[in-house]
């Protein structure tokens, strides 16, 4: 009997497909209409931090260098008030197999898939994660299929997306290249069903646990270099797994540094728009993912998202495309390293924040990613120009997403902008209210929602009155 493969029919089979493709039953964690036992779900996967570190060491993941960016720190101090300008450190996650922190995220899923006897793994992803899954699968003897949104209706893919697809193939993965649209998930389900492979989703407990080693390592390194804890850690933020895993790892190490999310501001561009697809010079780490995922994490390819960024986020800084390109160039010229866009987003955020911090404080950029043809800022700007976007030097605040990119003329123009955390939390509440009217929330739902935005019940009651 052949199955009905229309969009609606496949989406209706979602839960059974998910269950058999991960061997994980999310129902057992359910506590209320909104609430579920997050910590129990995270602990049930059965890996301690030490297990994670050992498993990752088997496949070239972890133990990445921590560098102090002396020259950039000096430059920031020159444009800051006296006594200001924190020491800026950078964790070189590009040194992981596959060239980004995403190797941490993929490593445990690949390990579990092999242990459980799955023949292969599948992931739906915009890029780096695909390369990471492919690289980990190759090392664990698993087959690999990556489902990726690659081209617009003219068949054109922006250079970074194309490069990410290439890298997956380089590690032996089959890459399904798709046109623009949220139906990526539909095709993922079809492929999981057909192959019986393991769903190496970005948002499982395995994925997030894998990133905890990053937060832990970072704290240990700063303690050993500086003899104290960092004051702030900047995390490039999209779907929220990078922030969640890093923050959890930091907490496990007993570090209470501020956790600051940073995204490229892409306001005005629609993520599922065929037209806007090739008018973005960033493929991740931007507000198109960062804001919706922070304010409603359960919009993903698993029933409950293990990446719950608002639980851990203290602050959220936005930078614009021009600012990041400027800092990328400066990193090469001043610090002698070329790195890719996502990590450089938080370097840009760190420059903006370091200016306000005291010069005896420490700010850490928790990742870098690889660069090269397609991922390079010159590739992006050249492509943007071809798409009719104006590229010039000037005040970066004048840039209009999709129309112009204005690259600063001076470091002092790299300022970033804080998002209002309170607004984000209220926006989360509104999304929760869409699931179930707040007057119907049980006590356990209320506690869950408050914890999910890092607040207490008193705050919740007051905030609910305002919406």
């Amino acid at each position: 009997m052949s199955l009905d493969n229309t969009y609606q029919a496949v989406m209706a089979r979602k839960n059974e497909i998910m269950k058999s493709s991960m061997g994980l039953d999310y129902e057992v964690y359910r506590q209320g209409e909104l609430a579920f036992d997050y910590e129990r779900m995270m602990n049930d996967c059965g890996f301690t931090l030490q297990d994670i570190i050992r498993i990752q060491a088997e496949t070239k993941v972890g133990n990445t260098p921590m560098y102090e960016l002396h020259n950039l720190t000096q430059a920031v101090r020159k444009i800051s008030a006296p006594g200001k300008g924190a020491r800026i450190f950078l964790k070189d996650e590009a040194a992981n197999a596959s060239g980004s922190f995403k190797a941490r995220r993929a490593s445990i899923s690949a390990y579990v898939a092999a242990q459980k006897g799955y023949k292969g793994v599948i992931a739906a992803t915009s890029g780096n994660y695909g390369a990471a899954v492919a690289s980990q699968a190759a090392q664990r003897g698993l087959r690999c299929i990556i489902v990726q949104e690659v081209f617009d209706s003219h068949g054109i893919g922006q250079p970074e997306i194309v490069e990410k697809g290439r890298k997956c193939e380089a590690f032996g993965a089959e890459v399904i290249k798709l046109s623009v649209g949220p139906e990526l998930f539909y095709y993922l389900l079809l492929t999981l069903e057909e192959t019986g492979y393991f769903n190496a989703s970005l948002y499982t407990p395995f994925g997030i646990k894998g990133v905890e080693s990053l937060g832990n390592e970072l704290v240990m390194q700063i303690r050993s270099i500086a003899g104290k804890d960092p004051d702030a850690v900047v995390v490039t933020h999209a779907g929220g797994g990078n922030l969640t895993g890093t923050a959890r790892g930091m907490l496990a190490a007993g570090c209470r540094a501020q956790v600051v999310a940073c995204s490229v501001d892409l306001a005005g561009l629609h993520m599922a728009s065929d037209r806007d697809f090739n008018r973005k010079s960033f493929t991740t780490g931007h507000t198109g993912f960062g804001v919706p995922f922070a304010t409603w994490p359960d919009r993903v390819d698993v029933p409950r998202n293990a990446a719950r960024s608002m639980r851990y986020m203290d602050d959220y800084v936005l930078v614009n495309q021009g600012e990041v390109f400027y800092i990328t160039e400066l990193l090469a010229k001043m610090e002698g390293i070329e790195r890719g866009p996502a990590g450089n987003t938080s370097v840009t955020g760190a420059v903006a924040l370091a200016r306000e911090m005291n010069d005896d404080q420490i700010i850490v950029v928790q990742e870098t990613e690889y660069t090269g043809a397609g991922k390079h800022h010159n590739s992006q700007l050249a492509f943007a120009r071809k798409m009719g976007i104006e590229v010039r030097r000037g005040n970066p605040e004048e840039g209009v997403n999709g129309k112009s990119i204005v690259i600063p003329e001076h470091l002092s123009q790299v300022k970033g902008r804080r998002q209002d955390m309170e607004k984000l939390r209220v926006s989360y509440l509104k999304n929760a209210a869409k699931q179930l009217a707040p007057d119907k929330w049980s006590d356990i739902d209320r506690s869950f929602v408050a914890a999910d935005v890092k607040k207490d019940l008193a705050w919740l009651d007051a905030a609910l009155k305002s919406i």
């Binding site: 969009y7 430059a75 087959r143 623009v180 949220p182 065929d274 050249a382």
Partner: protein, 94 residues
């Protein structure tokens, strides 16, 4: 039209969803277009460009589709030089 030999590295294409079949939440400009997939693989049997055919992918799956490209390759690069970048970091910013 000349035949492409079996075993050649090719790219095939399929329309997965027509505009009418697309997900309800897609924006208008996207909805006007079909949902398309492409995948590369080794041609299973000799075929003509534009014909329905089958490939074996790198993961070992067999997938049907329309033969679109023979020996697909990557040509993404560093792009034409952006002169606006060259003057950054030479001392002027401080």
């Amino acid at each position: 039209m000349s035949k492409v030999p079996a075993g050649t590295w090719v790219e095939i294409e399929n329309i997965l969803l027509t505009p009418e079949q697309r997900a309800p939440q897609v924006p208008e400009d996207t909805r006007a277009t079909p949902y398309v997939m492409r995948v590369a693989g080794f041609l299973v049997a000799e075929a003509e460009l534009g014909s329905e055919t089958e490939v074996r992918t790198l993961s070992g799956r067999k997938i049907h589709g329309t033969l679109k490209v023979v020996r697909p390759h990557y040509e993404h690069s560093f792009g034409e030089t952006i002169e606006e970048l060259l003057t950054i970091g030479l001392g002027g910013e401080l």
